[in-house]
Amino acid sequence: MVGAAAERHAATALIDAAFRPVRAPGRWFWPTLGVLVAMVAVAMAGYGYQLFAGLWVAGYTDAAFYGIYEANLVAFIGVSYGGALVSAVLRLTNAPWRTPITRMAEATALVSLLVGASFAIIHLGRPERIWQLFLFPQAASPIVWDMVAIATYLAATLIFLYLPLIPDLALARDRLGPSAGRLRRAFYRVAAVGWGGTPHQRRRLNWSVGAIAVLIIPLAITVHSVLAWAFSMTSRPGWHSTIFGPYFVLGALYSGVALVIVVVAAFRRAYQLEPYIGLRHFVSLSRIMAVLGAVYLYFTFSEMLTAAYVRTRDEASIVAVLLEGSFAVPFWVFLIGGVLVPIALSLAARQVRYLVVAAALAVVGMWLKRLLITLPSATVPLIGDVWGTVQVTWVAIVITLGAAAAIPLGLMVIFRFVPILAVDEMAEFDAHRPSAEPSSKRPLRAEAIP
């Protein structure tokens, strides 16, 4: 009897925590939302000005035809793949500690994909012509396949977020009273598709979640490879590389795991989720991040060594500007601050704040790396020896900051409607733990690593 009562109490506490953003998001919520909305609004105003004045206001010239927007496109879509892949791999390997963080990882994947994909339009000089890409697609164009790949992946990400949500939407349908509002209750009723937790429904759902988790892994790898091939299928020095597909995938995974750590830490603190998300979650994610960072380091070394050793003029010039030329400072900042320090911190630190600092460094460092992939090759001269220069303008800065703000904004909005923790999965997982195990070790409680 006492055990059942404790179980009910734990379940009530879990539901309260998971629905906290839905019911009472806290005093900080609206001011933060206001700041983020303001940043996005300024970015939209900047884009309006760019539409009116032309791409030159973002620092583009004929000798620097790619700029900060392409780096944003790769970086934001990259972190999306990372979030989805981490969640999928943890599901398939049935990692016992995954349940409190998968919802946030999946939501991060969706939001950052939407933000990243928007840069495919932002960087167009004539965006009003994009419909021609749909009506008159050129099968030989990597851009067309890139668009198709992103659309496919967006559909998969939506399904990947939605399916595990069904039991929790049913919970919201059953537990949120009239205060939730008529529209919202109707949404829960429709989206929950009659979930009642029967064994048949659970079997069906588990099979579908497993299937989408299996499908999303090759899909994410393929889609990010297609994005990489949009670069490497050009003859520009620095881009025409066979390693670009896996290199981009690795970078996406590394930065994606890092962003998941930052997002989980932020929402854990904001919604007091410490009883469910503990140090061990951060340590586990940080170790994954460190391994991915080490492999990314190897890929970087491999790419630069082959380009520098053969010394064809154009490839060597790219390596030279990165190692000791005009892009040397950001390159070394990326290498040391964005990879080496985060790896060392992730392996050595045993406090959440240091692990979060390591992850934040990795996110910023990898954004810098995307700039370093884009800019040198976009400014290398094909006529003469004079490099193009990219101007960092206020328009590009506000649009980039607005896009970065759109990710937490989107997550805050999503978690106003759906529980932030995968309640059903956490309870289900807890129910299937061996009964001999002490209740204090159950995954509903996030114990710290000594």
């Binding site: 009910r8 979640v209 006529i383």
Partner: protein, 193 residues
Amino acid sequence: MIGRRLLFVCVLGTGALVIASFASLERAAAADPPARLEAVAEQDDDGVWMLRATLTRAGVVQSGRTVEFLQQVDFFGERWVPLGTAVTDAAGSASLPYSPTWNGVQHLVARYEADEGRYESLPVEITVSGAIPAIPEEAPVLPIMRVWAFPVATVVLILVWLALAGILLGAVVGIARSGPDRATAESPLRQAD
């Protein structure tokens, strides 16, 4: 009387000022005569062009000055694209190797930015053949790519979309059919307060 003397002084002073102005102008002109820039382009045996510009002022060679070489192009409109810079040597000559990336008649100039303004050589016309293109010439598309790549990619894409639709519909329809009325009461979530 005073007025005459004053008039005399004024005339004298004005005359002196005029003479001094002319003298200073002449001195300035003597110190900084207009520069002259002459450009030539020669091709070596390897096909690399050497652009040379000689900078002089009143016949005196100017060393240690930076000269810029430019090429006239008409991509997206006619304009001068910088090819690079070189510094004049003791003989007043600046040299820049130039590997053309396209064939045909090209016009090049040398430019020198002096304190008093910009000097430009007369355009040099060269005719290039055997240039190494910056973007390699396209090879014919491999048959395996031309014939199979697009259909295979399209089939894979259709299969992926069908799989996605199948997974989503299978879950939604399967769950909806069994309905909530048969819900189990075992879950602690349903028993929670």
